[in-house]
């Protein structure tokens, strides 16, 4: 049994890795194979996988995960400034520091559950956001955002190589490989696969099972003699570290960090992605990220002239009405579509796209099962 399970894990990981690494190829036909978008897929994929470990498994709805994205970004940029342009220390520090903050926030917030937990995390999100804008400005550089400069110390870089004085802004790299373009994507992809592997292990572990038990009935869990708090805090910290990793990767692919990443509505985005794909499922969040980032990419690029050429085959009056109707939903109005999508998914498909697939699958397989049942009756 154990052996088979390990084999299936290996199988899943192999398929997943191949799928991720070949993304530039199979996403080409739908025009989503350029590095910027691929990086976004991978980064938000990590974020959503991590969020799913908390929300999907334990059912605790956190509005505070944008904090860890922000913390990860700031830490990574500081690592670029002080230590080295190498991405590896940046993501290590980003993840660890985000984990530390997550432990702090989680320790306090997880004393309550349900809606109180949500509001506590909301309060923390607002606190960190406001602080990043005001008192912490020396660290976060306030509204301008934190960026790297040519005359940063970068101790490690200067130790091992002669940094040409007066050169332009350095770019992020790993031992000489620049982190922009496809190499950046492959770096994030490796981490995505790693994150997925960890999530897979957690889902199948006794620990994951306990988290699911907390979701279904925390009281019963307590009566059985479990102290649920350590499990919850661990889940919170793990998901916070995933968010921190995602945040530092954002800084790796584009070395700047701003406070707007920490706004609580940014946490809303990851919640939507998780729900859209399917809360509590292994692949759901990734599916959600893919759908949402792809749609965002398409919708926000459309403008009136694009629409006009799209409906060019129609008679002029119909063309004009179509353009007038659709314009509010695209370009700047992408958020409107987002909100509507959010509502539709929560109302009709609380289980997300994965549930939708399941329903369709059931429709096809149901007839056979019913026949079997009938035969059994006879």
């Amino acid at each position: 049994m154990d052996f088979i399970k390990k084999r299936s894990d290996l199988f899943i990981m192999t398929v997943f890795s191949i799928a991720v690494f070949s993304m530039p190829i199979w996403l080409d036909p739908i025009g989503a194979s350029y590095p910027d978008l691929l990086q976004k897929f991978a980064i938000f994929g990590i974020f959503a996988i991590g969020y799913n470990i908390l929300f999907g498994l334990t059912g605790y709805l956190s509005f505070g995960h944008a904090i860890f994205i922000g913390v990860g970004s700031y830490t990574a940029v500081w690592s670029f400034k002080l230590l080295s342009m190498n991405a590896i220390p940046a993501i290590i520090f980003g993840t660890l520091f985000a984990g530390l903050i997550a432990a702090l926030v989680g320790y306090v917030s997880l004393r309550r559950s349900g809606i109180y937990f949500s509001i506590l995390t909301l309060a923390f999100a607002q606190m960190f956001y406001n602080l990043a804008y005001s008192v912490l400005s020396p660290i976060t550089n306030g509204e301008t955002g934190l960026t790297i400069a040519a005359d940063d110390p970068r101790v490690l870089d200067r130790l091992f190589s002669d940094v040409a004085a007066g050169g332009g802004l350095p770019s992020t790299e790993i031992f000489g490989i620049s982190m922009s373009g496809y190499s950046g994507f492959y770096f994030t992809a490796v981490l995505l696969i790693l994150a997925f592997f960890i999530s897979l292990k957690i889902f199948n572990s006794p620990f994951g099972l306990k988290l699911k038990a907390i979701k279904s009935n925390q009281n019963r869990m307590k009566y059985t003699g479990y102290n649920t708090r350590p499990y919850l805090i661990t889940a919170f910290v793990i998901s916070g570290m995933f968010a921190g990793l995602a945040g530092s990767l954002m800084a790796v692919t584009d070395p700047l960090a701003g406070a707007e990443r920490m706004q609580w509505t940014a946490s809303g985005e990851v919640i939507l992605m998780t729900i859209l794909g399917g809360v509590g499922t292994l692949y759901g969040p990734l599916l959600g990220v893919g759908i949402m980032k792809y749609l965002e990419n398409i919708f926000s690029a459309i403008n009136e002239s694009v629409l006009q050429s799209f409906f060019a085959f129609m008679p002029q009056w119909l063309n004009d009405t179509m353009v007038v109707i659709i314009t509010p939903f695209v370009g700047e109005g992408w958020h409107l579509t987002l909100g509507l999508m959010f509502m539709v998914v929560v109302i009709f498909l609380p289980g997300g796209v994965t549930e939708g697939f399941q329903k369709i699958k059931n429709r096809f397989t149901k007839s056979k099962e019913q026949e079997k049942l009938k035969q059994g009756d006879e």
């Binding site: 004393r111 309060a123 602080l131 008192v135 958020h335 409107l336 909100g339 959010f342 929560v346 109302i347």
Partner: protein, 338 residues
């Protein structure tokens, strides 16, 4: 002394807005059992009722400007001025207070439609789902407003008579320099009136009695043969009107923009939690308390020692209260305890 009084008034003012929004939130919480993240959007819609009303009043036509004689110049003249002369201008001047009469039916309709169309189907769902769907609704409302009114704040002047400041210092026999904007005083009075009438409505009418009973034990009220469903719809409408009124009157203080709802939403949730879920007096008290705390924290003396405290004081207080007094200041036992 002056500074303290001013900050106290500022705090009461801010607190009045928090209290009004939190009052509606608590009503909906306590009776319907629904966590409404779109409540801030209702506040914002109220403010935009005032904006729309002013826009309607000032619908203009191009006329020849008689004051310029060298050439034919045109100027915009509102129809109201053409039809009613000075009286029309006076109406335009009083656009904000007058828009209350438009805001009440509009907000009531919006509230009823929201409850019938969406909230009703979420009574039985989990709190997380309620939060998410209303959060989505809030985004939609916000974006629709941005589509029609743009992203910039729209300044809404109060009527001319009260656009200056009141000499509070002279009244109280303190210094003459102590002045305070009339409109803010009016806002405070207005809020107290609204809060008072909501409480009177709940305490003195039969309907109010049913609502209070419903907040205590919803199921039992249903068993007694009262149509709880219809009462809920009306309560939601009422909460929506209260939030809308708060928004209308706040427009001259804070120029309305599309995301003001979200900004106030988080604060008012914190207020509700601090006051105690499902406790109306708690919501009002916590609203004023947090408003005053916030404005005192922004005094220079305080921020000298604790920089940035004004930014986080409310959230800090909320965290502490939630951890030490799980039911908030006045929360009853057994209401919304996880």
């Amino acid at each position: 002394m002056d500074a303290i009084l001013i900050q106290l008034l500022n705090g009461l003012d801010k607190g009045a807005a928090y209290a009004l929004i939190a009052l509606g939130l608590t009503l909906v919480f306590g009776t319907l059992g629904v966590v409404n993240f779109a409540h801030g959007a209702l506040f914002m819609l109220g403010a935009f009722c005032a904006v729309t009303f002013q826009k309607i009043l000032t619908i203009s036509v191009k006329v020849i400007d008689p004051s310029i004689t060298f050439f034919t110049a045109y100027k915009e003249q509102p129809y109201l001025e053409i039809w009613f002369g000075d009286m029309g201008l006076a109406i335009i001047d009083y656009a904000v207070p007058l828009s209350i009469f438009m805001a009440i039916p509009v907000m009531l309709l919006i509230g009823l439609a929201m409850e019938r169309g969406l909230i009703r189907h979420f009574y039985k769902r989990t709190h997380a789902e309620q939060i998410l769907v209303t959060f989505g609704l809030a985004i939609v409302i916000q974006e629709v407003i941005r589509h029609f009114f743009g992203a910039n704040p729209i300044p809404m002047p109060p009527p001319d008579v009260v656009s200056s400041s009141a000499a509070i210092g002279t009244w109280l026999g303190l210094s003459d320099n102590l002045i305070y904007p009339w409109w803010r005083l009016i806002y405070l009075t207005f809020s107290l009136l609204v809060i008072g009438s909501v409480f009177a409505f709940l305490q003195l009418t039969t309907f109010g009695m049913v609502v209070r009973a419903g907040m205590f034990d919803r199921q039992m009220v249903g068993f007694l043969g009262i149509n709880v469903q219809r009462k809920f719809t009306i309560i939601f409408g009422l909460a929506s009107v209260v939030a809308g009124l708060a928004g209308v009157m706040y427009a001259p203080i804070l120029p309305p923009d599309y995301h003001m709802g979200m900004d106030f939403l988080v604060l008012s949730f914190v207020v509700v939690v601090v006051g105690g879920m499902g406790s109306l007096p708690g919501a009002v008290a916590a609203g004023f308390l947090l408003g005053i705390l916030q404005s005192f924290a922004s005094m220079t003396i305080v921020s000298q020692y604790l920089p940035g405290i004004d930014q986080i004081i409310i959230y800090l207080v909320a965290v502490i209260i939630l951890l030490t007094r799980p039911r908030g200041l006045m929360g009853r036992k057994g209401v919304f305890e996880d």
